[in-house]
């Protein structure tokens, strides 16, 4: 398949090295937190030492006495809205009357050195009146629970129904009733949250920070500083890992505020432990499923009660809840369902976006349920899935039309015929037990029914380059390379003529955030439109040049041909420039969506879905309980694969991050709501030696709506890991474990 495509395309479907890889491996690339500006101040955040308390007083007098301290800011110093949050701005920029999680920012200090800033921060005296700490979903929804916000402890509640589940249950051959739980997960990016801010000669506040969404950050900063967004520039490249944890505001407003108040450049950079305490994490979940089938394994109904723990504030909580709703029926035909979904406040830190965005939580529940049902019915779990998956053209669970169910079917067939699914594993030691597990994943690309109009630009530069501009951030996933390949393909020029300028509001228009596996789809499509615009304009110029009408011209390899004469795009650019015409072409893509969300949701459903099937093979030590995942196979339907090696890297990375989530990562809060494992020593992410043999296969697939048929890839592989591994462990041990992670003491 790859060979055929290679003939079809010149630049895409090829594994070119990421365009910034050399500067990364050589160390030449400076990450944002490497930035130093002359005379810059260092900032330190005064954080709450209570998970829940009323603030009685804030006394900065002692701290102000330290020489070298240039600013100490509290809520009183915020000119605009003292709140932020991507969907609902309910989190204070600086706490004023109350703190709701351990590590919540209360004051900011900027000083000449890092040490002075820290020292001064430690001298800010905050008097608290402790309040009861809500440590779990159960405690939060209990009738006697103290309300964490004016609207109570349920930030969002919605019920969505289809058909008649009561009747379906009565008529069913079998109904299983199960509760599944998933833990919080920390992003653990290698570069913790941080950045610098300064005011330039023209009075613009420049905020360089690790992030995923330069334009949304800019708006949130503007809102809190009460200045027009034009007065702010945000830059997010290069960011050393994000995974959703830098999608909402981290340091941006604090940095801008300090630069604004002091007039000086400021740097703020979390330590690992600070990131552990104050950074975001994935929502924890508790999902109760009651699912019915007939004798042959056809799904009849699904009742789901979803509780997501959003921690102290909402951030993306409402839309994370939507994705968990959308995922709870899997890619299956389920005629009757009730989804009762709840987003719950607690004092467990602060949840926000994390790769998968609510899908891994729901996927663990529904995919484990399917495996349990198949097991009870003595059905092959792949056959059971083949029977239930929605096929192309069918109506999906939310009134949507399935565009490409055939890709998932093909992925399942390949999994079914794979070696690891069909081989019997020989255990080397008597205490070893082995098993292979399966789970299927589905994930929408982009923001579903929410309006999404990504804008991107290209410039035909007379020096012989095509410059491309978009705001999505390359934080390691390779979007700048993929987009360069798309543009090289469309413009029919070599890749090295494409120059990327992205993630910087000064140069790039608003293409939206790097999230929801949308960057290739959104910015790729917008860039292709901009390329068409440029080519149209250049063609007119070529007509002018040859003195002929346009149908006489042919375009190839960066040149317009008229019989045996030709002119290149850069020469044409020069003549346009000579007349003072613009060489920049900007286009906006209308992301296809259903006109309105399913009632009770904000963004359900999506038009385009990615699919994946994960097989994992576990070896369990029966005496000790530890599991070792030694093999994983992933069959992916992600549309056209722009860059196979980068896409495989995304899938492998997602699997490994999922293995941490499934087996060892276990963020815990103590009785006072303080996180107890906040660094790599205590919060156990997998090491390179824990990585299994991973085999990735792409299904031949084409999504007509995507750029050259591409969908997206970032999130799909992390989603099914929990259920696949839990299934493997069941097949090894005979024990279903319904709460992640699968720590050794739960397994034996």
């Amino acid at each position: 398949m790859e060979e055929e495509l290679e003939q079809k395309y010149k630049s895409i479907t090829r594994s070119v090295a990421a365009i910034d890889s050399q500067s990364k491996v050589s160390g030449a690339l400076k990450y944002i937190t490497d930035m130093r500006i002359e005379n810059m101040l260092f900032a330190s955040v005064v954080r709450s030492t209570y998970a829940h308390a009323r603030i009685i007083s804030i006394d900065t007098r002692e701290a102000e006495k330290i020489s070298g301290v240039k600013a100490i800011l509290t809520y009183k110093d915020i000119p605009g809205l003292n709140a932020y949050g991507a969907i609902v701005p309910d989190a204070p920029v600086l706490a004023y009357d109350r703190v709701r999680y351990y590590g919540e920012p209360v004051a900011l200090v900027a000083a000449d050195t890092e040490e002075l800033a820290r020292e001064a921060a430690s001298l800010v005296k905050i008097e608290y009146d402790p309040l009861p700490v809500i440590r779990s979903i159960d405690e939060s929804i209990a009738s006697e629970a103290i309300a964490l916000h004016d609207n109570g402890n349920i930030a969002r509640h919605t019920i969505i129904k289809k058909g008649d589940t009561e009747r379906a249950k009565r008529e069913a051959y079998m109904t299983l009733d199960r509760i599944y739980r998933t833990p919080f997960q920390k992003h653990m990016f290698l570069e913790p949250e941080g950045g610098v801010a300064y005011i330039d000669e023209s009075g613009i506040i420049n905020v360089f920070a690790g992030g995923q969404s330069p334009y949304r950050d800019k708006l949130q900063i503007a809102r809190s500083l009460n200045i027009p967004p034009e007065k702010i520039r945000t830059v997010n490249y290069p960011t050393g890992g994000a995974f959703g944890g830098k999608d909402d505001i981290t340091v941006q407003i604090h940095l801008a505020l300090l630069a604004y108040k002091t007039g000086k450049p400021v740097k703020l950079w979390f330590s690992r432990e600070e990131s552990g305490v104050a950074g975001y994490h994935r929502t924890g979940s508790e999902i109760h499923l009651i699912t019915s089938v007939d004798k042959e394994g056809t799904l009849l109904s699904n009742e789901a009660q979803i509780y997501l723990d959003t921690g102290a504030y909402q951030s993306f909580g409402p839309t994370i809840l939507d994705v968990s709703i959308e995922t709870i029926n899997g890619p299956y035909r389920i005629p009757n369902y009730i989804i009762n979904a709840n987003l719950v406040y607690t004092n467990n830190g602060f949840s926000s976006a994390f790769r998968g965005f609510g899908a891994p939580e729901s996927n663990f529940a529904i995919e484990s349920m399917i495996n349990e049902l198949a097991s009870e019915l003595h059905l092959d779990p792949i056959d059971m899935r083949l029977k239930n998956i929605l096929m192309t053209g069918e109506e999906g669970p939310f009134g949507n039309t399935i565009r490409h169910g055939d890709g998932l079917r093909e992925a399942l067939m390949r999994a079914k015929n794979s070696k690891i699914w069909n081989s019997v594993i020989q255990n080397k030691k008597p205490w070893q037990r082995s098993g292979v597990g399966i789970a299927v994943a589905i994930k929408g690309v982009g923001f579903g029914t929410l309006p999404d109009y990504p804008t991107a630009a290209i410039e035909i530069a007379t020096e012989g380059k095509v410059k491309i501009m978009f705001s999505n951030v390359d934080y390691g996933q390779g979007i700048n390379t993929g987009n360069a390949q798309l543009v090289a393909e469309k413009m029919d020029i070599p890749l090295n003529q494409v120059e990327v300028r992205h993630a910087d509001t000064k140069y790039s228009p608003d293409t939206g955030s790097s999230s929801a596996s949308r960057s290739t789809f959104a910015s790729g499509n917008a860039l292709l439109l901009a390329c068409s615009k440029a080519l149209d304009r250049l063609k007119m110029e070529a007509c002018f040049y040859f003195g002929v009408t346009s149908e006489k011209l042919e375009y190839k390899e960066g040149r317009f041909y008229y019989n045996d004469r030709s002119v290149g795009i850069y020469e044409l650019a020069k003549s346009l420039k000579a007349r003072g015409e613009t060489l920049r072409f900007e286009s906006t893509f209308e992301v296809p969506r259903y006109p309105a969300p399913v009632e009770g949701t904000l963004e359900v459903p999506h038009v385009v879905y990615m699919y994946g099937v994960l097989l994992s093979s576990a070896v369990l030590d029966e005496l000790i309980g530890n599991i070792h995942i030694n093999q994983a196979e992933f069959y992916a339907d992600i549309g056209t694969v722009i860059n196979p090696s980068i896409a495989s890297g995304q899938i492998e990375g997602g699997i490994v991050q999922g293995l941490g989530y499934a087996t060892t990562e276990d963020l815990k809060y103590d009785v006072n709501g303080k996180p107890i494992n906040n660094n790599y020593t205590t919060y156990i992410v997998p090491s390179v030696r824990d990585v299994p043999d991973i085999y990735v296969e792409f299904i031949d697939s084409l999504e007509e709506l995507g750029p050259y048929g591409a969908k997206g890839v970032g999130e799909i592989s992390i989603i099914p890991v929990g259920a696949s591994v839990a299934h493997a462990v069941y097949n090894a041990s005979g024990k279903w474990i319904r709460d992640l992670p699968l720590l050794p003491w739960k397994v034996i």
Binding site: E115, L623, I624, T664, I676, V685, P744
Partner: protein
């Protein structure tokens, strides 16, 4: 965490180092590979404001063979142990343990002396040193003494080392050729993991698998690394079979006194200790455990 506020002394020879240590004693912190000390500094746990950098004391960088003993200078790193022919042939259990410590970066810098100095009950070189009958040489400007490793520790982060003393050497006994040995460590990942439980064992069995003698030391299950004395006694002079393997493992799990901490519960640690000991001894019984090859040329 401000590294520049530390005064670093870098003596060029042992005498100079002992002189400084005599003068400063508990005011100064020793630093070898720094893989523990740097973390402590970062976390602001160290009270001393001066550091005695031992890395220039090249006279402590040696591995000598003396009859039945191998003498290891305090600056020898895990990587150097892994590469040493003498150690591989005569005390391979220490090599196996070294390979589980941290990852390559830590093994390149970390030292046995530092592992002893740090005195964590989870120090992974320590159970092997117990079963190798190791002793620790402590030198000060005015004196020199040798303490058996099994008496060196007083509790977590507490040792018999006086503030003016330096660990200069660790001596281990060669393991007799043919003896079985194993080191097993349970961590939650394959590298850079702190042990939940670790076990070191050297077993001398006759050709009929009767236990002539056995040494079993466990890490992370008591305030210091400990010998499973009762279990060793239980095993000695008995015929090793599956029942005895189970009995010894059970006895070990009862003999230890683990605590519950962030890494795991006491109850689980007992089960895991059972499992590690069972698996190690099972392999001894089946003859699939590793055996010491001995110091004869040509064995390799």
């Amino acid at each position: 965490m401000n590294y520049s506020q530390y005064v670093v002394h870098s003596p060029q020879n042992l005498n100079e180092a002992l002189g400084i240590l005599k003068e400063k004693a508990s005011e100064i912190r020793l630093i070898s590979g720094g893989t523990d000390v740097m973390v402590l500094i970062k976390d602001n746990i160290i009270k001393e404001k001066e550091l005695l950098n031992l890395s220039f004391l090249n006279e402590l960088r040696y591995i000598h063979e003396e009859g039945n003993t191998i003498k290891i200078g305090a600056l020898i790193t895990y990587k150097e142990l892994e590469k040493s022919k003498v150690v591989n042939l005569n005390a391979p259990i220490l090599v196996d343990a070294s390979k589980t410590i941290g990852a390559a970066q830590i093994q390149n810098l970390g030292t046995l002396a530092g592992n002893l100095g740090n005195a964590s009950p989870a120090g992974d070189s320590i159970p092997p040193l117990y079963v190798l009958n190791a002793s620790v040489k402590l030198q000060s400007a005015d004196s020199e003494r040798v303490v058996p490793v099994s008496e060196f520790f007083l509790g977590p982060r507490k040792t018999k080392r006086a503030p003016n003393e330096l660990i200069t050497e660790i001596a281990i006994e060669k393991t007799k050729p043919g003896l079985y040995y194993f080191f097993k460590k349970l961590g939650l990942r394959e590298a850079n993991a702190i042990s939940l439980v670790s076990v070191a064992c050297i077993a001398d069995l006759d050709q009929y698998k009767k236990v002539n003698s056995i040494k079993l030391a466990l890490g992370a299950v008591a305030p210091t690394v400990m010998f499973a004395v009762k279990s060793e006694k239980l095993a000695t002079d008995k015929q090793l079979d599956l029942n005895l393997v189970d009995e010894i493992a059970r006895s070990v799990s009862e003999e230890i006194s683990p605590i519950t901490d962030i890494r795991g519960s006491a109850e689980y640690r007992r089960r895991a200790a059972y499992g590690l000991v069972y698996e190690g001894l099972y392999e001894v019984l089946m003859g699939t455990a590793k055996r010491v090859s001995g110091s004869f040329e040509g064995v390799y």
